[in-house]
Symmetry: C2
Subunit: 300 residues, 2 copies
């Protein structure tokens, strides 16, 4: 089954305690789409400016991602993000952010893309996500991401979105803020009661938690000492998760749990290089191999 993602593609400048890289292909929809492409065909809806490097689009196209939904605004500028990671490689500071064309993003989804059965709404203003969602009314599974900014500034829109989506993916600090508790288990239950049928809380180096109708569980991250650049880890997690669900064309509890595991493993590769570097090196076989090791790690 094909999978539609609506969200940002961007140009990232990233500084870590070890190195700095400029003009990387970034953006949440980019990391999502690349991760999902290990499992299924992906359709990407986004917007860029006239300054967008053609090779970035080409890299995604060669990966088999349908990039026809990337709108180009010739007299606009692409979304650019510059960030610096702390020594712990977890906390980061945004040094510069230029939303430009993405700040005015009005997703317009083509007729063929509107038939997508699996839809992921990358981080954007809830009204933008709702506008995209209306265009894919026939989807089988719609999952959204969000972030602190929208929790703080557009709370009502977010609650409206929650009533219409099947799943919500967000990170631990966002979940705590949204649910007004520091207990993540409680937070997950509270957020699920706001509307989404399931909630996934991403915990970075500590893995991810799942809250569904019948079950709550946590899966740890795959331990890697090679943490080069965490940018996009959460997006590649969501891409692995949704990509697997779309491939299986199923989202029963067992499939969802396997999808959580795939998401975790794809993310563990994502952090092993700057931007998409490491992802471009691996194959589905590498993921399967790591899955075997992960399963073994969790068996006793």
């Amino acid at each position: 089954m094909s999978l539609l993602v609506v969200g940002s593609v961007a140009i990232d400048n990233i500084e870590t305690p070890q190195a700095r890289r400029d003009n990387l292909l970034g953006g949440s929809a980019t990391h999502f789409a690349y991760a999902a492409s290990f499992f299924t065909s992906v359709q990407l809806v986004s917007v860029v400016g006239g300054d967008w490097p053609a090779e970035h689009t080409e890299l995604l196209r060669q990966r088999g991602i349908d990039v026809s939904g990337i709108q180009v605004i010739p007299d606009g500028k692409s979304f650019r993000w510059t960030g610096r990671y702390e020594r712990n490689m977890n906390d980061r500071e945004t040094l510069d952010i230029e939303l430009d064309v993405f700040g005015r993003f009005e997703p317009s989804i083509s007729d063929s893309f509107r038939r997508a059965k699996y839809v992921f709404l990358g981080n954007a203003a809830p009204v933008t996500q709702l506008r995209a969602l209306e265009q894919v009314a026939g989807s089988r599974l719609a999952v959204a991401d969000t972030m602190e900014l929208w929790i703080q500034t557009t709370h009502d829109d977010l609650l409206e979105l929650f009533k219409r989506i099947d799943g919500l993916v967000l990170n631990d600090s966002e979940a705590k803020m949204l649910a007004d508790t520091d207990n993540l288990v409680l937070a997950g239950h509270r957020i699920r009661s706001m509307g989404p049928k399931f909630v996934v809380i991403k915990k970075g180096e500590h893995g991810a938690m799942f809250f569904g109708e019948h079950e709550t569980y946590v899966l740890p991250a795959f331990p890697t000492e090679r943490v080069v650049d965490p940018t996009g880890a959460g997006d590649s997690f969501a891409g692995g998760l949704m990509g697997y669900l779309a491939e299986q064309d199923n989202f029963d509890p067992e499939t969802l749990k396997s999808a959580m595991a795939y998401g975790i493993l794809v993310a563990s590769f994502n952090v092993e290089g700057f931007g998409l570097e490491r992802m471009c090196e691996i194959t589905r076989d590498d993921i399967t191999e790591r899955l075997d090791a992960y399963r073994k790690m969790l068996s006793f």
Copy 2:
């Protein structure tokens, strides 16, 4: 196989955002011993003052713990700790600490206790731990805990200790400090290279990591929304782990992994009540039931 623990028993006053309790039976060896007693017979070596409430010793004795190694110094005062937890129930502030008799603790291990094959050296000055270790030279498995204070103030003694123990259990912030890195995977490997045959890093609500000769893995905590009092969680984790190893009289890699799981589950009960309250309510069957749920949670 019987298990010997050398460490603190204390009187705790604990304040959480929800409640406050005074004069609780606490101390690292207490939480360790109680947790281990679900699995094996436990011998406890510690020291208290003349003010020590007889009912605290009685609770441990009725649990089958051999308390003959608790030395009473009639004109001394028992170790008292008063602490307050933050809203996140993870960070805590020590409001008052009176080491008293425990500050002058010179463990003297009786002949019968010296035959213990499984030994746990609870948090104390490394020289105190070394002195205890010398008295149980014939043990089969010796594991120690430590804390930031000793990493900062008695680093050389700690390195001496590391050469003589089989396993080290410490928490994440201690591991980062000791290994001078924020990457816990790297930290575990580095600390293992300092001497211990295996290293366990406790991550609180995020579970625990294991670093052995042939394998590195992480197991998540059991998700509970009922976090009443985290005091002693790490000690009960170690107690569950060591108790299971002593019961099995084995510490091959598979047994160690099951022991890690038991430690995690016993700790998940420990935090569900103040002090030992919740632990006093449960049976081995409750632990087994949670183990089944935990195994199911980690299967996909």
